[in-house]
């Protein structure tokens, strides 16, 4: 995180723009093409929740509250230097939080349309992506050419494929990497060469472990998939608990895992449309219908030899919470695997109780 702060400050000094984002729907390609640094502002600290609750209702998801806590306390080092925040119409809590944020900082909203398989919805989304391009041009007073976009698409595809290869180390059986190690590979900032080198180094080390038979967990350790809400550094309680119980989180289907990496941007054709198409296929519970999530879970379960699926629902995240009914049924009936939902927040108060449930599930395998 310190490195990321330095990186953003340094970019600033060199006259680069900084754009804050809160969601995997944001096309980072456009921001990179505008010669700006996209940085994720999602809150991952329990400490900023009490200040957020002076304004927001307490029965809101901890991710929104924590993010907003950084806003009201002016403690976010990235937000302080951001020229613009790009946000989407995903869940209701976030949407309304952005209105409060917009009183302090320039915010640009991308409108996501439901029923993504319909042509009108897609055309609308393409025009939204086009409007973001214009907004960025205006903010940074420069033209974003199609060639700029094509280069950014290549760079982001490369970054995604590296991260994906790193996450795919989770396929190894017996495990050579832990879920905690994989969770630490994500960066708040996109397009940073240091990050890319770190990923390469991690993969080299993992290959070395494999060569020397150094495994990350006991032989036969149960292989778990996490689906649902995203985690971040600082909110990995569930992964920690699962691995303390002797299992390994081999893959996350979430936005902190494979979800945003599954589909790449087509490098041919109209770049704006290609970008729009990639992001429109993100299987997030805020969209209806969201059948893509089941398909992705099914695919990952097979590829990573998963034995049980644990659904992480941040408290008061209604979309993931309701969708869990469908995921539960899908996992049990279609994949024939145990499924468990864990509804929790950023606090540590329920750690032991979650552990009881996780250990029970694991022992039952």
């Amino acid at each position: 995180m310190n490195h990321e702060v330095d990186l953003v400050r340094d970019a600033r000094r060199r006259g680069k723009g900084v754009v804050g984002i809160y969601c995997e729907f944001t096309p980072r390609e456009l921001i990179l093409a505008a010669n700006a640094v996209p940085v994720c502002l999602c809150g991952a600290s329990n400490r900023t929740i009490p200040p957020a609750e002076t304004v927001l209702p307490s029965n809101l998801c901890p991710l929104i509250k924590s993010s907003f806590g950084y806003i009201v306390t002016n403690r976010c080092p990235f937000l302080m230097v951001a020229d613009l925040v790009v946000a989407e119409t995903t869940c209701d809590g976030k949407k309304k939080m952005y209105e409060l944020l917009a009183e302090k900082q320039p915010v640009h909203i991308l409108e996501l349309t439901q029923k993504f398989e319909e042509q009108e919805a897609f055309s609308h989304w393409v025009s939204e992506v086009g409007k973001l391009r214009k907004k960025l041009e205006k903010t940074f007073n420069r033209t974003i050419t199609d060639d700029d976009l094509r280069k950014a698409i290549k760079d982001m595809n490369h970054e995604r494929s590296l991260l994906r290869s790193a996450f795919e180390l989770g396929k190894e059986d017996p495990a050579i990497v832990t879920g905690m190690e994989l969770a630490e590979l994500r960066y708040r900032v996109a397009g940073d060469p240091v990050h890319l080198r770190m990923l390469e180094a991690f993969m080299a080390e993992a290959r070395d472990r494999k060569k020397h038979g150094k495994f990350a967990a006991k032989k036969g350790a149960p292989r778990i998939m996490i689906t649902g809400c995203p985690t971040a550094q600082g909110t990995t309680k569930l992964i920690e608990v699962i691995e303390e119980c002797g299992a390994v989180v081999v893959v996350q289907e979430t936005c902190s895992g494979m979800k945003p990496l599954d589909i790449q941007v087509d490098e041919t054709g109209d770049p704006v449309e290609a970008i729009a198409r990639k992001y429109f296929q993100l299987p997030c519970s805020c969209m209806t219908p969201n059948k893509g999530r089941e398909a992705l879970i099914g695919k990952l379960a097979k590829e990573f030899k998963v034995q049980a699926v644990i659904d992480l629902v941040w408290q008061a995240c209604h979309t993931y919470n309701v969708e869990s009914f469908l995921i539960d049924r899908f996992v049990r009936e279609k994949l024939g695997m145990p499924y468990m939902k864990v509804e929790t927040d950023y606090s540590d108060s329920d750690r032991e109780r979650i552990k009881v449930r996780v250990q029970t599930l694991i022992e039952m395998l």
């Binding site: 329920d350 032991e352 109780r353 979650i354 009881v356 449930r357 250990q359 029970t360 022992e363 039952m364």
Partner: protein
């Protein structure tokens, strides 16, 4: 050859020694400020009482919140699995276990061998748990031990609509202010607790026999309310505390075979 189950809970410790046929020894101790040490002492006390040496005990399984800190254990096991196994030993006909403790409630389905088939646990809020009932008791000035008896003959129940401890409190105040008798309020509370608990059956089903355990099982009012809601007679163990340790000892024995 003996096996041992040691259940280290937040309040008490139970130790059971098992010889493959019957319970050789069962003792209870207080967890106190040093649960791991007290558990060790209880474990050795149990062996002393049974006239057994440490080497006679071939496998020790620890369960409960303190399970990971007990050095004498060869393995740990989840308290849900141990509890269910212990209950099924006492009630071989059991297929469903409803457990309402101080801070959580669980519903477990088991097969004929005490193996857990499925379970649900409500662990995120105190609604419908022992803590909630304790709070209601304090508000209405009714000691926990009297609750069941007090509602035995009341014919009416005023259900409360919210199980959130905070909202329920104001709702109950409203009821008593408007002159609703205490027994009617209490019966309503029990019925709400029963419904809330039974909402978990959606996931695991409610197959007979149904055994009711946990601290709240001692409250005859709640037990009656569950029976009325389901039309099923509940089995309630007379010594429910020891089931976790017993289950751990049984699981330890299975692993030796």
């Amino acid at each position: 050859m003996l096996t041992a189950g040691v259940d280290i809970g937040s309040r008490s410790i139970e130790v059971v020694l098992y010889d493959g046929g019957q319970i050789v020894e069962a003792i209870t101790a207080i967890s106190g400020a040093a649960p791991a040490e007290n558990a060790k002492k209880a474990f050795f006390d149990a062996m002393l009482a049974a006239g057994a040496r440490r080497s006679d005990v071939v496998k020790v399984i620890a369960t409960g919140y303190g399970r990971n800190y007990f050095r004498e254990a060869d393995a740990v096991s989840s308290e849900i699995l141990c509890h269910a196994r212990g209950v099924a030993y006492v009630f071989p006909q059991a297929r469903t276990v409803i457990d309402i403790g101080g801070q959580d409630s669980k519903m477990i389905s088991v097969d004929g061998n005490g193996k857990v088939m499925n379970f649900v646990m409500n662990d995120r809020c105190a609604a419908g748990t022992g803590k909630f009932i304790e709070m209601v008791g304090l508000m209405l000035d009714v000691p926990l031990d009297n609750m069941g008896q007090l509602t035995e003959n009341s014919s009416e129940a005023r259900e409360i609509s919210s199980m959130c401890a905070v909202f329920a409190e104001s709702e109950i105040i409203g009821l008593t202010q408007s002159g609703t008798p205490v027994d009617v309020v209490l019966r309503g509370v029990f019925r709400s607790v029963a419904k809330r608990t039974l909402a978990m059956t959606g996931k695991v089903g409610l197959q007979k026999d149904v055994v009711f355990t946990g601290g709240v099982a001692k409250n005859a009012g709640v037990a009656r309310a569950i029976e009325q809601e389901t039309g099923v007679r509940l089995q309630i163990p007379s010594d429910p505390q020891v089931t976790g340790a017993l289950g751990a000892a049984l699981i330890a024995y299975d692993k030796m075979k």
